[in-house]
């Protein structure tokens, strides 16, 4: 559940774009989100308090001076920049055993209740799963929900980005049935399952193919 910082009124995220990472290989999404929060100097507006993530605490990872270095950070926090209509959820720890489905449900419930207009999920996948074609060109891939297919499709064509390829469900046995597989991508596939896409809640996903955090640079361009 979302718990706002302090005793002020809960912030209004209606019409905002929500950016969040999938806890995935190389922690690429999480590192990219760290860069976004630090670069835009986004203030913390609340916590995403849940029993689905392993607890962890530490001092402020975005500290720029002695004064703000002692602020405690927990495993899931929400940052917001109203001027850009951007809200960011940073997730800093893995899921408790068998709790990832519960987390997805809680997350989607919050997305709906906060009335965000768009959701961007940053994820990553194992590079060793690439086929020969995928090894050439950009390691970035995207996935859209049907709600945004039309509007964002033209933008993707202009940027020359590639859509995430589907793979055979039973390779070598039956190549007709194609499914979405994102090995190492954490909850990415679950969030893009049929049922969740049809809810219209998820609009984008950016998937980087990597095994090293150096590919975070590509994501932030």
């Amino acid at each position: 559940m979302f718990v706002p910082c302090g005793s002020s009124a809960p912030p209004d995220f209606e019409g905002f774009t929500l950016l969040l990472p999938a806890v995935s290989v190389g922690n690429v999404g999480q590192l990219a989100v760290d860069l976004v929060i630090f670069t835009l100097d986004m203030p913390k507006v609340g916590y995403f308090y849940t029993d689905c993530l392993v607890p962890m605490v530490g001092n402020n990872p975005y500290a720029t001076a002695e004064e703000n270095s002692t602020e405690l950070s927990i495993n899931a926090e929400v940052y917001s920049l109203p001027s850009k209509k951007l809200v960011v959820l940073q997730i800093r720890s893995p899921f408790v055993n068998n709790k990832y489905r519960s987390f997805c449900q809680t997350l989607l419930s919050w997305v709906k209740s906060s009335r965000c207009a768009k959701v961007i999920l940053l994820s990553s996948s194992h590079a060793y799963q690439c086929d020969d074609q995928q090894l050439h060109g950009t390691p970035l891939r995207y996935l859209f929900s049907p709600a945004i297919q039309k509007t964002a499709g033209e933008l993707m064509q202009r940027l020359n980005w590639k859509e995430m390829e589907k793979v055979a469900a039973y390779p070598g046995v039956n190549d007709t049935e194609m499914v979405l597989r994102i090995p190492g991508g954490g909850i990415t596939t679950l969030l893009f399952s049929e049922r969740l896409i049809s809810d219209g809640a998820l609009s984008w996903s950016l998937i980087s193919s990597c095994i090293h955090p150096k590919n975070v640079y590509l994501l932030t361009q």
């Binding site: 607890p55 530490g58 002692t70």
Partner: protein, 269 residues
């Protein structure tokens, strides 16, 4: 053969459900309060009890520190216990425990029952930590509650640009919530170091629900019960929460007597 197969499948399904039920039930955290007396009526009640100070020791060295320097004053009585099971431990049912037993016991100060102390000498698994939190804090009616947590971890977990050979192990580091306004008894834990486990769960809860809380983490190079690690917590005795609880100023001879008794008990086991 078709009926036999159906029966077999049905039996396997029932067995699976039974196993799942037992597994989920086995991982439940149960809190047993020995007596919950209402302050006004003097009768047993399920109401929340008022709590102004909650001191939590996690791990055998922290527990031994509180046993030696706080509980030793004799002004405390057992208030409750936690019953849990996981792959690493099963907590003891008794309050007469040895330092090497797995236990989680609560004590309250006789002169001020709003002061609660918890000795957690067992491993609380990841999937049990939230339950532990909700059940313990759910019993408290927070009245200007202040929380102090003591914990230890290996010095090999400490990240620093300096050489680990020159680190003055054991040493204390602190983390505090936004609402904790006092000065800590030691330096704060620097980035990129983090804290995990039950201490992190409790501190996260306090940060989210705006409860003043401080965690004192002792980084040590000894993983077993160790007097040097226990003594490293001594600066915490000057903190506001603990200062008033150490009624008897132990002299050097008394302190070593208490610690020696602890060591002898461990060797006996």
């Amino acid at each position: 053969p078709y009926c036999t197969t159906c029966v077999l499948i049905h039996c396997l399904f029932c067995l699976h459900l039974t196993y799942l039920f037992l597994f989920l039930y086995a991982r439940e955290v149960h809190i047993l309060w020995f007596s919950k007396l209402s302050a006004s009526t003097g009768s047993f009640t399920d109401e929340q009890f008022p709590c102004s100070k909650f001191i939590l020791a996690i791990g055998h060295n922290s527990v031994a520190f509180l046993s030696s320097f706080v509980l030793n004053s004799g002004c405390w009585e057992a208030a409750g216990s936690v019953k849990l099971w996981n792959e690493w431990c099963r907590t003891s049912n008794t309050t007469s425990v040895l330092p090497t037993d797995a236990f989680c016991l609560f004590y309250k100060l006789i002169s001020d029952p709003t002061v609660l102390l918890c000795q957690c000498n067992c491993y609380v698994a990841e999937d049990q930590q939230f339950q532990w939190l909700e059940k313990v804090f759910g019993c408290m009616r927070e009245e200007d509650l202040q929380v102090t947590i003591l914990s230890t971890c290996p010095v090999t977990d400490y990240k620093t640009p300096e050489s680990t050979l020159t680190l003055p192990s054991p040493f204390l580091k602190a983390l505090k919530t936004k609402d904790f306004k006092e000065t800590t008894c030691c330096p704060l834990l620097e980035q990129p170091n983090i804290v995990q486990g039950l201490p992190a769960a409790v501190l996260s809860y306090c940060q989210v629900w705006q409860i003043p809380a401080v965690l004192y983490q002792c980084y040590t190079d000894v993983i077993s019960l160790d007097t040097v690690t226990i003594e490293a917590f001594k600066p915490v005795l000057s903190s506001k929460n603990l200062k008033s609880l150490v009624k008897v100023k132990l002299n050097f001879k008394d302190k070593w007597k208490v610690l020696s008794l602890l060591i002898l008990e461990c060797l006996r086991v």
